[in-house]
Symmetry: C2
Subunit: 243 residues, 2 copies
């Protein structure tokens, strides 16, 4: 029997238990109802407090909760504004899931592969010339620091996110960014097992192949190159002892 997922409508239909919860609901409804877009200003905490008939404490916790999810942005003195979609929330969530062993590294890599397989294909079809050049440049930078693990990790993530940006679908940027970011912590363990520089160079060349395929505007080649990249990673994961 499949596990039962309680059906949840957006913003959790489940009757709000605490006043903070209902305040959160009221605020999101307000944003939606007023048709507010990113950057638009919200009423003050005091205003919500009065209109909802609760203390400012309650509204404040609701605001903070929404700010944590980047649904709104808060700054001292300034009114809260509607927030922009961002990878950080999902990244935090995924990092937590990894650390608490609700998900393991191979599972994360598997999902990442699925997402990026589409991301590179779109990038190959939609990239601008500037983006193509930038990707090739990033690969060049990677070649220069096969020994610097930390730098390599950051370049790696930036490279994959840049591809996602070129896909012209911000959702891919966020998904790729958060999935990559969450894996960051396991990355050093994997690389430690690539002792010989030759293997490390293989990784860089895998990236080069992806960048080239995207520059050539060849989705199929890009997918093939990405598949090779992930196969390499999968082997490394296995070697590093991830189950």
């Amino acid at each position: 029997m499949p596990q039962h997922h309680p059906p949840k409508t957006p913003a959790e239909t489940a009757a709000p238990t605490t006043r903070v919860d209902s305040a959160i609901r009221a605020i999101t409804d307000y944003i939606h109802g007023e048709g507010l877009k990113v950057g638009d200003r919200l009423p003050s905490e005091a205003a919500f407090a009065e209109s909802l008939g609760v203390s400012r404490t309650v509204v404040r916790e609701a605001f903070k909760s929404l700010a944590a999810m980047r649904i709104i942005e808060m700054h001292a003195g300034r009114r809260a504004r509607v927030g922009g979609f961002d990878a950080s929330v999902m990244a935090l969530s995924l990092t937590h899931a990894l650390r608490t062993e609700q998900i393991n590294a191979p599972q994360m890599w598997d999902a990442r592969r699925a997402v990026e397989m589409r991301s590179v294909a779109l990038a190959a079809m939609r990239r601008t010339d500037a983006e193509a050049a930038a990707l090739l440049e990033q690969v060049a930078q990677m070649r220069d620091c096969v020994d610097d693990l930390a730098r390599m990790t950051e370049l790696d993530i930036a490279f994959h996110v840049a591809i996602a940006d070129a896909s012209r679908n911000p959702l891919f940027s966020v998904l790729v960014g958060s999935l990559s970011s969450a894996i960051r912590e396991t990355n050093p363990m994997v690389w430690r097992h690539r002792r010989d520089n030759e293997t490390r160079r293989d990784v860089v060349e895998a990236h080069a192949a992806i960048a080239q395929a995207i520059a050539d505007g060849d989705p199929d080649a890009a997918c093939a190159a990405l598949a090779a990249h992930f196969d390499l990673a999968a082997r490394a994961l296995a070697t590093a002892g991830f189950n």
Copy 2:
């Protein structure tokens, strides 16, 4: 030039600006440092307040923020516990992104397609017999309510999530759940354009083909069936006027 994403390490390395932010950081670090797992109890708000040298208000807002992200769970009178990974956070985030037009429906569908393409393949390889039977049963239920839009929508989501569950990768359950859930709001608009029952029946049969392929343990057939399903959806989206 590709847009510059400021590199963010997990839990945002960016120097915490407010005390609440640093409290959030301290709490997540505590969870990680103590190696706490899902369900483990955290120290009380008062304890954190004292150890961090801030008021309970600050700790409370930090707790609420983490609770919003499901990193911890809070209940009146009970100590906070480490929370389980859940689709609701991402669903809320995505729903907000859709409502504020940071992402549009076709983009969401595209990402969903990428994720589910892998989800069904894994499900076909790993599903238990019980899961296969359950999927077929769910399709049967869908056949019985082609006229009930709301019910159909919920069954649809439940079906895709059930497949993800069968993939044995909880990340897919979360991704599929949240992506499907976020699309829920646009679903009625799409279905309104499938006037004739014949087309609606096509949709149900597309699901049937997926379920059958998974039951047969045939990943390739499952992918093909899923592709057909999404092509159908893409056409409907176009008809409904989504750009």
